[in-house]
């Protein structure tokens, strides 16, 4: 029945090859705390005005190692355990964009392409001939170019913006699945344990079956 396995593998491979179609910029997201803290700050500075992250609390930002004073500045009167809510009111959103900007807590997992989509979207703005900004990834988007990459022509400035977009993407990827680091770490131990266990079970099986003539 080994042919069966080969046929199945072939099928799976061809499926994954077709899975993604839009060409997105690839990004390697950072997972270390300092990078995430930087991403959180960049997010606060560039996105918090419009976007909410209802599953992220100010205390979570503190736990990433961000300065207490900074977090206090952001939260104002709110307690550490309140979620990070957009500064702009929903009524103003409707008046300005005709929609409420979506919650970003899960956004890094809520679109095909995940973090790659997020990153490509942020740096996908360009200047159209009529002087307004368009976007390669989401052409009809109502979000104004938040990092200003469409009007940046200087190479150094552009790479600086891309770096910011990358660190924001890393932060949002963390926010979508905050236990991912803990998960892979535990996963490594589990794998080692299971491989050893299976090896032992194999030996037990061999030993028991050797009683048969």
């Amino acid at each position: 029945m080994s042919t069966l396995l080969k046929v199945m593998l072939l099928g799976l491979l061809s499926m994954s090859a077709y899975a993604e179609e839009a060409k997105l910029e690839k990004i390697e997201v950072a997972t270390d705390k300092p990078a995430l803290a930087r991403g959180a700050e960049d997010w606060m500075n560039n996105c918090h005005s419009c976007h909410t992250m209802k599953y992220v609390k100010y205390r979570d930002l503190l736990n990433l190692g961000i300065d207490k004073a900074k977090v206090d500045g952001w939260r104002g009167e709110a307690s550490l355990d309140t979620p990070v809510i957009a500064q702009m009111s929903e009524a103003d959103d409707m008046a300005t964009f005709a929609r409420v900007p979506p919650d970003l807590s899960l956004m890094a997992q809520a679109r095909d392409g995940g973090p790659n989509y997020m990153y490509s979207y942020l740096i996908g703005y360009y200047l159209k001939p009529d002087g307004t900004a368009g976007n390669h990834v989401f052409p009809e988007t109502k979000m104004p170019d938040p990092l200003g990459i469409s009007s940046a022509s200087d190479a150094a400035q552009r790479s600086e913006i891309k770096k910011t977009a990358g660190s924001i993407t890393s932060f949002l990827t963390w926010a979508a699945d905050p236990h991912a680091g803990e998960r892979t770490k535990l996963g490594n131990y589990v794998m080692v344990y299971l491989v050893l266990l299976s090896g032992l079970l194999y030996l037990v099986k061999k030993q028991i079956w050797s009683r048969l003539k």
């Binding site: 029945m1 042919t3 069966l4 046929v7 199945m8 099928g11 061809s14 499926m15 077709y18 599953y55 979506p102 807590s105 899960l106 997992q109 809520a110 679109r111 095909d112 995940g114 979508a176 699945d177 905050p178 236990h179 998960r183 892979t184 535990l186 996963g187 589990v190 794998m191 299971l194 491989v195 266990l197 299976s198 079970l201 194999y202 037990v204 099986k205 028991i208 079956w209 048969l212």
Partner: protein, 421 residues
């Protein structure tokens, strides 16, 4: 077993004889390959799903306005809640994977043939219950795909003659999928696994009545049977280790590969996702549903597609034992069928906007049913071809013995009938 406690119990409950009969003396063919591990694995996955599910239910809120948030509460705040949820979500896929392999093994080796028809049919019932449970469970996270998947599938019941609309409302508890749908799906999602456990017991009783088939297809004489314990408990546990390694790769390193991105957006009845896809294990059947241009026909075709397996004991008319092992043409049919399943799965995954995909889906749907309907003719022709070509001695003897037995039973039957007249 001995000792005063065991003795005390044995006077009141057949413990020792039960263990003896079902485990330490239970005869199992010595030549079972690792493909025979998957029934045991399905049992383990069932237990894991129930265990993780019970703990998830302690933190989950079956309320349309709270369900999505409660999943995030589990993922973020509950101690190891993320582990419970990923184990349960990956477990659903693992369950179907294991069951599909288990079914493929049965089909390949012809284990569904007499005297194992009831074993096969209880398995078919288990498949249906598993599908229902998975479908209802998928609504609970209350994401976009949950909501729209449930909407599309419950809507299919519209095609029921005369009372279609009422049935849809009855299933949903409302005119559209909403809070009432969520609460009833949650209730039933909690109930069904216990019905499945009951059906598994029936399945096992049937198995222990007819005993396992084996790769040679020949009823082994007593000397080739070995006790289930310790030989197959050891082999099954080793298989479990390998299974858990694969399962853990998904749980710990790629748990989101099986979750549709759109399901990380809360359910919104006002916004239809541009592409509604079911979970991977439903894709072939979904493709069949969509391949029939008429909705009534599509629903009937899909239901029939799932049920086709139950007809196999009638369709397969070859008397040659051992399934594909001694039947080269049946073997080819088996692999072509698997290939067709993969094609259907791919078609089910793609949006039906591409006309060539639609055509491929229709051809594959035709092939799906054709591969069942040709079985009676092909199996009969293959049988006479193989007999002419010459079969191994043991197999010919077995077939002759089976034929004699059948003749004898028929005569017996006739005699008894004659008595009563």
């Amino acid at each position: 077993m001995s000792g005063p406690i065991i003795n005390w119990i044995d006077k009141r409950f057949p413990l020792t004889s039960f263990v003896k009969h079902e485990l330490t003396d239970y005869p199992t063919p010595r030549n079972l390959s690792y493909w025979w591990n998957f029934g045991f694995l399905a049992g383990i996955v069932l237990v894991m799903q129930v265990a993780t599910g019970i703990f998830l239910a302690m933190h989950y809120k079956a309320d349309a306005s709270l369900a999505f948030d409660s999943i995030q509460h589990i993922m973020r705040e509950v101690n190891y809640g993320w582990l419970l949820r990923y184990m349960h979500a990956v477990g659903a896929s693992a369950f179907f994977f294991v069951i599909f392999v288990h079914m493929a093994r049965t089909l390949y080796y012809g284990s569904f043939r007499a005297p194992r028809e009831l074993l096969w049919w209880t398995g078919q019932g288990l498949l249906l219950m598993l599908m229902a449970t998975a479908f209802m469970g998928y609504l609970l996270p209350w994401g976009q795909m949950s909501f729209w998947g449930a909407t599309v599938i419950t809507n299919l019941f519209k095609v029921t003659p005369f009372i279609g609309d009422d049935i849809v409302i009855w299933l949903r508890g409302d005119y559209s999928v909403g809070d009432d749908t969520l609460t009833r799906f949650f209730s039933l999602h909690y109930l069904f696994p216990f019905l499945i456990i009951g059906a598994v017991i029936v399945h096992l009783v049937a198995l222990h009545t007819v005993k396992s088939s084996n790769p040679s297809g020949i009823d082994l004489k007593a000397k080739d049977n070995i006790p289930f314990h310790p030989y197959f408990t050891a082999k099954d546990l080793y298989g479990l280790g390998i299974f858990l390694i694969v399962y853990s790769v998904f749980v710990f390193f790629m748990p989101n590969s099986l979750i549709e991105p759109a399901n990380n957006v809360p359910a919104n009845p006002m916004v239809t996702p541009n592409h509604i896809v079911p979970e991977w294990y439903f894709l072939p059947f979904y493709a069949i549903l969509r391949s029939v241009p008429n909705m009534f026909g599509g629903v009937v075709a899909m239901a029939l597609a799932v049920m086709m397996f139950a007809f196999m004991p009638f369709l397969d008319r070859s008397r040659i034992p051992g399934g594909a092992r001694y039947r080269p043409i049946y073997r080819i049919q088996f692999y072509l069928f698997l290939l067709d399943m993969l094609v259907l799965g791919y078609v089910g995954y793609k949006p039906p906007t591409n006309p060539s995909i639609v055509v491929v889906g229709q051809v594959a749907t035709f092939c799906y049913f054709a591969s069942f309907f040709v079985v009676p003719f092909v199996s009969k022709m293959e049988e006479s071809w193989l007999i002419k070509r010459g079969l191994p001695q043991g197999i010919m003897e077995l077939m002759e013995r089976e034929k004699r037995d059948l003749e004898e039973r028929k005569q017996e039957h006739r005699r008894r009938k004659g008595d009563t007249v």
